[in-house]
């Protein structure tokens, strides 16, 4: 059904939620091949959920999620795994296998998904590690790596099979400014060098403004704003402004919706006798 061959990801009226509360209700999103898209939004708005929907780890309640023209929710296990071989995902803390060395971590996708001889795997792994600048750390165990290095090793592992789509879940969290800039630059460089498409879920607006082609603001269970970094800087919408300026007061409330405090306290007390 996908008409435009340039569109890699196509979310159409996607709804998702646990139980009765909906996290998403009518999310529409199109991402073109070759773009780096940053997804921002308040904590708990469902940024990671968006990635899990695209990766097929969860299924939408309504609407369709299509990657490269394939509807993810309709795939069987085999089709899903075939699709995932062409996707890479970088998890929040890297999710390196702690019982395997850096080398074996990066070799893992090759050993599991290909029949390549060990000598060729070795070459490929060292090349990927070179890409992230950590060829020298091949024999190190993940526990001995710093946060930034672990993130880069995980990146090398995620791009091992040269995916068409890379998804990054909070790649900048917990990194010092130097590592942060390094990872950011790396994401952009890898995207362009290997002709990928990237989605970055992040809190870090500054870094995403530097490297992204488009910024998507999730709020109110849908895509609230979809603009280029330049547009975002000059946006006038109060909600967007609050995000860009990081202001405390604004449309995003500090409090979760709740009944008046006195009523709540009295009510609780009445229950417990």
């Amino acid at each position: 059904m996908s008409i435009d061959p340039d569109t890699l990801i196509d979310l159409d009226g996607v709804a998702f939620g646990h139980g009765r509360t909906l996290l998403f209700d009518g999310v529409d999103l199109r991402i073109k091949r070759g773009q780096v898209v940053a997804v921002i939004g308040s904590s708990g708005v469902g940024k990671t959920t968006l990635l899990r929907l695209i990766g097929g780890q969860i299924t939408a309640k309504a609407g369709s999620v299509r990657v490269a023209g394939v509807s993810v929710g309709r795939l069987d296990r085999k089709g899903l795994y075939a699709l995932r071989r062409r996707m890479g995902m970088l998890f929040q803390q890297g999710a390196l296998f702690t019982d395997l060395s850096v080398f074996d971590n990066v070799a893992f996708p090759y050993r599991e998904n290909t029949d390549l001889p060990e000598s060729m795997i070795r070459t490929l792994v060292l090349l990927k590690l070179e890409t992230v600048g950590l060829r020298g750390a091949a024999s190190v165990m993940p526990s001995q790596l710093s946060g930034g290095m672990a993130r880069r090793v995980a990146l090398a592992r995620a791009i091992a099979l040269d995916p068409m789509l890379m998804m990054y879940d909070e790649p900048f969290t917990g990194l010092d400014p130097i590592s942060l800039g390094m990872v950011g630059r790396l994401i952009r460089r890898i995207n362009d060098a290997f002709g990928m498409t990237s989605i970055i879920v992040t809190h870090d607006l500054n870094e995403s403004l530097l490297i992204a082609d488009r910024v998507i603001l999730l709020a109110d269970r849908r895509v609230y704003a979809d603009m280029t970094p330049a547009e975002l800087r000059t946006a006038t919408d109060p909600f967007v402004r609050q995000f860009v300026d990081g202001a405390f007061e604004g449309p995003v409330p500090f409090h979760q919706p709740a009944p008046p405090l006195a009523e709540d306290l009295f009510d609780r007390a009445a229950h417990r006798h």
């Binding site: 995932r84 998890f91 390196l96 702690t98 893992f108 599991e112």
Partner: protein, 263 residues
């Protein structure tokens, strides 16, 4: 008062429904693990690794426990048997106790504490640190790659460990009975051999330990795989593994004993 009764009944009902749901999920999970068996067993190197992690590292505790259990059985058994002038039957008493019951059961209990808890904690931690999700996103089924080898590692290790336990127990009894107390070595062995039946006693005992291996292995991987991705979740998965597998072993032992040794 009425409210308390309703509360208690509600808690009870909730617990039962919760437990049944868990049991059902465990059964489904068992099916999933069995479903990937061919893939797991074809790459036996993975299973070998896990047998080292769970089996080889349990050898010391099994050997030491077996030896001491055997020695204690000899001391206690001799104390009772000599009142009937039947000290010569010590070998029979010890061998039957070990081969039929204590070998499989105590091994399974020790294994649950030593290896089952470790398996649950390891898988739970992999869940908590997104390693399992990462694997799924790399198009690798964590049930085949992580759960399967650990499960089969436990299943293969258990009967081997139980056999070692029983042998060391018999050796311990021999040390105390023959070397220390001075029972005739000939009657110690010959009575044992005349009474212990290979198929009825030894094979049934080994069969028990295979079943215990399946039970403990399954409970450990199930609890680990379904642990809440938090520190508390991993710790409760570990605790549950030890508690539930111990109870399961004792219950299964009762069922199998009545079925095997009724006659």
């Amino acid at each position: 008062m009425q409210r308390i009764v309703i509360d208690v009944l509600g808690d009870l009902g909730g617990a039962v429904i919760d437990g049944l749901g868990r049991l059902g999920r465990a059964a489904l999970f068992f099916g999933r693990v069995l479903g990937v068996s061919h893939r797991v067993l074809r790459r036996f190197g993975q299973v070998t690794r896990e047998m080292r992690a769970s089996g080889v590292r349990s050898v010391l505790i099994i050997v030491v426990s077996g030896l001491f259990v055997g020695m204690v059985l000899a001391v206690q058994g001799h104390d009772v048997l000599q009142r009937f002038g039947a000290s010569d039957s010590l070998g029979v008493l010890v061998a039957l106790s070990l081969v039929r019951e204590l070998g499989p059961v105590v091994t399974a209990l020790l294994f649950a504490g030593r290896a089952g808890s470790a398996i649950a904690a390891e898988i739970g931690l992999m869940r908590a640190t997104d390693q399992l999700s990462a694997m799924e996103m790399m198009a690798v089924d964590p049930v085949a790659r992580i759960v399967g080898p650990r499960f089969y590692g436990a299943v293969f290790s258990m009967p081997l460990l139980a056999a070692m336990f029983s042998v060391l127990g018999v050796f311990g009894a021999w040390l105390i009975g023959v070397r220390l107390i001075g029972i005739d070595a000939g009657s110690f062995w010959s009575q044992m051999q005349a009474t212990v039946d290979f198929r009825h006693d030894v094979l049934n005992g080994l069969l028990k330990s295979v079943v215990f291996g399946v039970a403990v292995g399954l409970i450990a991987v199930f609890e680990g795989f379904h642990a809440a991705p938090t520190a508390g979740g991993v710790s409760s998965a570990t605790t549950r593994t030890v508690v539930i597998s111990s109870l399961a072993v004792l219950f299964l032992d009762f069922v199998m004993t009545t079925w095997m040794f009724r006659g």
